[in-house]
């Protein structure tokens, strides 16, 4: 008898990668919006799953999630804001929390590409090579995105203090 071919069942794929996708989407959207987008992203991944070549599964599904996050952002901007960004900033809880909230507001104001790079790098510990796969750019370009994002954040702080 021939040996049956094996493949990763979607249920295992989902169990393995849903935490990373959840983290990424929470870093890109308000938390409530991220929960909705998480299901959209995995439904889209499920539709495309038979065409997935098995390489870089995490980057593959993160790239899908990123497109869904961009769509969600566009849809939100078309709607009148109910309570703008109400749940995207964690409530201040301790000393330094006000500064943290301020930093987060600045992260949220970065161009999407830079914000995505920083979230993938700092929240998920992705290497720049993998970030390149997610964003569809080179490793060097991903590294550059991160540096540009960081220096923009630093400039903002310095300007405020000056």
């Amino acid at each position: 008898m021939s040996i049956p071919s094996r493949q990763i069942p979607f249920s295992s794929f989902f169990a393995e990668h849903s935490p990373a996708v959840a983290g990424f989407l929470r870093g890109m959207l308000g938390h409530h919006e991220a929960e909705e987008c998480l299901q959209e992203a995995f439904i889209a991944a499920l539709r495309a799953y038979d065409r997935f070549d098995g390489e870089n599964p995490r980057a593959w599904v993160l790239a899908i999630a990123r497109r869904k996050a961009i769509d969600a952002g566009r849809a939100r901007r078309r709607r009148p804001p109910p309570s703008p960004e109400a749940d995207s900033v964690e409530a201040p809880a301790a000393d330094g929390a006000a500064l943290d909230a301020e930093v987060w507001t600045e992260v949220a104001a970065l161009p999407e590409r830079q914000r995505a790079t920083l979230v993938l790098r700092y929240a998920l510990d992705l290497r720049y090579r993998e970030i390149g796969f997610v964003l569809g750019c080179s490793e060097e370009a991903a590294r550059r995105n991160a540096h540009e994002g960081i220096s923009k954040l630093r400039q903002t702080r310095i300007q405020e203090v000056a």
């Binding site: 008898m1 049956p4 071919s5 094996r6 493949q7 990763i8 069942p9 979607f10 249920s11 295992s12 989902f14 169990a15 849903s18 935490p19 990373a20 959840a22 983290g23 990424f24 929470r26 870093g27 998480l38 299901q39 995995f42 439904i43 499920l46 539709r47 799953y49 038979d50 997935f52 900033v89 964690e90 330094g96 500064l99 943290d100 930093v103 987060w104 992260v107 920083l118 979230v119 700092y122 929240a123 998920l124 960081i150 954040l153 630093r154 903002t156 702080r157 310095i158 203090v161």
Partner: protein, 212 residues
């Protein structure tokens, strides 16, 4: 802290910790998976649905396509491997969903209580072909409470001398219990073999009154 509230430039460590805190990766995986499965089912995106079923012969893993039950893993089957093989042979959209199996669960429960003599749940035969399929189709016709020998199965499948091949066909049965390969015994009454272990084979035959 150099990057704290002192008014100096923001440090990379602070940026990192803020982004990390705002992007938690904890998820309620079972709840998310259930919601995803319900939607995938509604949208017709599931190629193989699966669920586990408790039974007197241990936890069974059942897997179905839109056509019917395609695989039943007895206790002791490597369930992870079973799902990987289903993904490779039937299709990779393999999703756990319990609701679809409620009718089968009920039938199995009745069977194990001795209240059901035949199963109504549809079968998907796609994992079998050729002689194996023929042997198993003849096996599916053995009535509750009866037994056959390997040689009889070979004859019923049209190849009286192929009783060894009939034996391995029964051993390759992807849908045990519903396709009752446990009803095939050695000539002279020896139990022969069973993928789920001889204890399970004995239990099933006792339920059916075919064994003391």
């Amino acid at each position: 802290m150099a990057d704290g509230t002192t008014g100096t430039a923001l440090g990379e460590a602070r940026i990192r910790s803020v982004i990390r805190a705002a992007s938690p990766t904890d998820v309620d995986a079972p709840e998310l998976a259930a919601a995803l499965a319900a939607r995938a089912d509604r949208e017709g995106l599931i190629e193989v649905a699966y669920s586990s079923v408790d039974s007197p012969v241990g936890t069974l893993m059942v897997a179905a396509t839109d056509a019917g039950l395609v695989r039943l893993g007895l206790a002791g089957t490597d369930h992870g491997l079973m799902l990987e093989q289903l993904a490779g042979t039937v299709g990779p959209r393999v999703i756990e969903t319990s609701a679809r199996f409620d009718p089968l669960r009920r039938e199995l429960e009745e069977y194990f209580e001795g209240r059901r003599r035949r199963f109504e749940y549809p079968l998907d035969w796609r994992l079998t072909s050729g002689f194996v399929r023929t042997v198993l189709e003849r096996t599916a016709e053995i009535p509750f409470g009866s037994t056959r020998t390997y040689a009889e199965m070979a004859t019923l499948a049209g190849s009286p001398r192929a009783f060894r091949a009939a034996g391995s066909a029964l051993g390759a049965n992807p849908i045990p219990i519903l396709v009752p390969c446990h009803r095939v015994l050695r000539k002279g009454g020896g139990l022969g073999g069973y993928a789920g272990g001889l204890d399970t084979k004995r239990t099933l035959l006792r339920i059916e009154g075919a064994l003391e």
